[in-house]
């Protein structure tokens, strides 16, 4: 078993897809780097923290992107975002079997704030264009930095979300909430609390991810193969179903709770013996989902 979380973006690409089939566009040798970081005296990377290209997956041609969490937390800046948009627009033109995004990102790269914000919105629209064309967009989330901010929104715009129990998916990071609202609101050093709120187990039980896997590149590969036929076009019906699910969840959770909110929510969702969830492994958790 090889930990997906501990791999670099490029190691993930090498191991999730068919061996030696990843063909990169705008590789580091082309030195397409952020124009904004240098001005700030911040080091840059020759791939701007994301590798994009095509590969095969069980013989099917797919387009892929992998964000590198070790470089600025996988933050999306002007170039990083444009590489993702280019990949998605190319998918619209060339029609691969699927687009797979190995997301590991804190969201907008604050060092290029305004350009990053616009870039993330361009990625969102491009993802929805690709979906509307019937090409599945699949998110694989298992990097140590999680998938936050704008990329957390992008994730839920995809056809399918695959997560490991090590993965995290949310909007604002615990540190940002703590800095803004105080430690009583969200203690970012309470790792168990962070995982109960944003981690793969919670996202699985609440239906926010479609597949829960172990932290293992082979498991991600198997889930990616399964997702090749994941195209789920957006329709009035799917949007109404989504609306009902989110509205129900909002109504379920009382405004003020003395007990642990995550455990309470799982219980209200019908998960048996919810307090045990943090101790259970992935196999045991799979059968507990009710939504």
């Amino acid at each position: 078993m090889i930990s997906f979380a501990e791999c670099s973006a490029r190691e993930r690409l090498a191991r999730v897809f068919d061996a030696a089939t990843f063909h990169e566009w705008l590789p580091p040798t082309e030195r397409v780097i952020s124009p904004h970081l240098e001005q700030l005296g911040v080091p840059s990377a020759f791939d701007d923290g994301v590798a994009i290209g095509r590969a095969t997956l069980e013989g099917h041609t797919v387009f892929v992107a992998a964000q590198e969490g070790e470089f600025m937390g996988g933050g999306v800046g002007e170039v990083h975002g444009a590489k993702l948009v280019g990949l998605l627009r190319r998918a619209l033109r060339d029609r691969p079997a699927a687009v797979l995004l190995l997301a590991e990102s804190g969201g907008v790269r604050l060092h290029e704030a305004n350009a990053g914000l616009i870039a993330v919105s361009e990625v969102m629209r491009a993802v929805l264009d690709v979906r509307a064309a019937g090409i599945p967009v699949v998110m694989l989330i298992g990097g140590a930095n999680g998938c936050f901010g704008g990329m957390g929104i992008v994730a839920r715009c995809a056809d399918r979300v695959v997560m490991s129990d090590m993965g995290r998916l949310a909007m604002s990071g615990p540190e940002v909430i703590e800095a803004s609202q105080g430690v009583e609101e969200f203690d970012s050093r309470d790792r168990a609390l962070v995982w109960r709120t944003t981690g793969g187990k919670h996202r699985w039980l609440s239906g926010d991810c479609d597949v829960l896997v172990k932290d293992d590149v082979a498991a991600f590969r198997a889930a990616a193969i399964d997702a090749l036929d994941a195209s789920r076009p957006v329709s009035m019906e799917t949007l109404e179903r989504e609306h009902a699910l989110l509205a129900r969840r909002l109504r379920l959770l009382p405004d003020a709770l003395d007990s642990d909110e995550a455990v309470a929510l799982w219980g209200l969702l019908g998960v048996a013996d919810a307090a045990r969830v943090p101790d259970l492994d992935v196999d045991a958790l799979r059968s507990l989902r009710t939504v």
């Binding site: 566009w25 914000l117 491009a126 839920r156 909110e261």
Partner: protein, 233 residues
């Protein structure tokens, strides 16, 4: 600008837009044609509840009034920063709002965003930034994060960031910078009703923001990088 002043200038004193909490909504007439208005005020933080309330109006408009244009009035301090909203999947609720707006667009509704006061990050990305086009009033402010919070995260001093925000469009909150980068299509000056008329007439479904950013000089690389990916061997 106060939303009521704006609504009165656009649709007259009997505009029919009402405020409930921080949410604005109304079915108005403009140049004799119906228009759905939806928005927020009081710099509302957008949490799960507000995202769902807005998505509801968008979906109802699509179901009941096919093709009717939608105007999004934007004033938000950004996404709700609460553990509870994170637990409830605020990112999913935001995506749902964005996808509802995107769906309306694909069904032939013109969707126009207008930043009339302020717009920050998460509250903006799934409203104005996913519309056909997003415009702004000249006195509006758009930014990703306030400078003290940004300093904490980037480890760049507040003084340095303040200095950069005066000269560097990538940091500065002014709407002109968003126009230069292509994120905002144009600013509404002069007669606001004339500006709305023009904005509705010229809204198109294509995402041209990277190209606009290059033409206007504010975002020089995005369009070129996208093209290089398309052309790569």
């Amino acid at each position: 600008m106060d939303w009521n002043t704006l609504a009165t200038a656009l649709f007259g004193a009997d505009h029919g837009i009402s405020q409930e909490g921080d949410v604005l909504r109304g079915n108005v007439r403009f140049d004799g044609n119906p228009l759905t208005v939806i928005g927020t005020t009081n710099h509302a933080p957008i949490g799960v509840r507000l995202a769902l309330e807005q998505a509801r109006v968008v979906l109802d408009t699509v179901a009941q009034h096919p093709g009717r244009p939608i105007l999004l009035l934007i004033d938000t301090q950004g996404q709700m920063l609460r553990r509870r909203d994170e637990l409830l999947g605020i990112n999913r609720a935001m995506a749902h709002l964005g996808m509802s707006i995107d769906f309306a667009r694909r069904r032939g509704h013109r969707v126009l965003g207008l930043v009339y006061d302020q717009a920050l990050s998460g509250g903006f990305i799934t409203s104005g930034l996913i519309a056909d086009a997003c415009d702004a009033l000249p006195e509006a402010e758009i930014r990703v994060m306030r400078i003290p919070a940004m300093a904490r995260v980037t480890k760049i001093s507040e003084d340095r960031l303040t200095e950069l925000s005066r000269s560097n469009p990538v940091f500065a909150p002014g709407v002109e910078n968003y126009v230069a980068m292509g994120g905002v299509r144009r600013l509404w000056t002069g007669d606001l009703a004339v500006a709305l008329r023009e904005a509705l007439a010229s809204a198109s479904g294509e995402d041209v923001r990277a190209a606009d950013g290059r033409t206007r000089g504010g975002r020089r690389l995005a369009a070129a990088v996208i093209q290089r990916v398309l052309d790569a061997a």
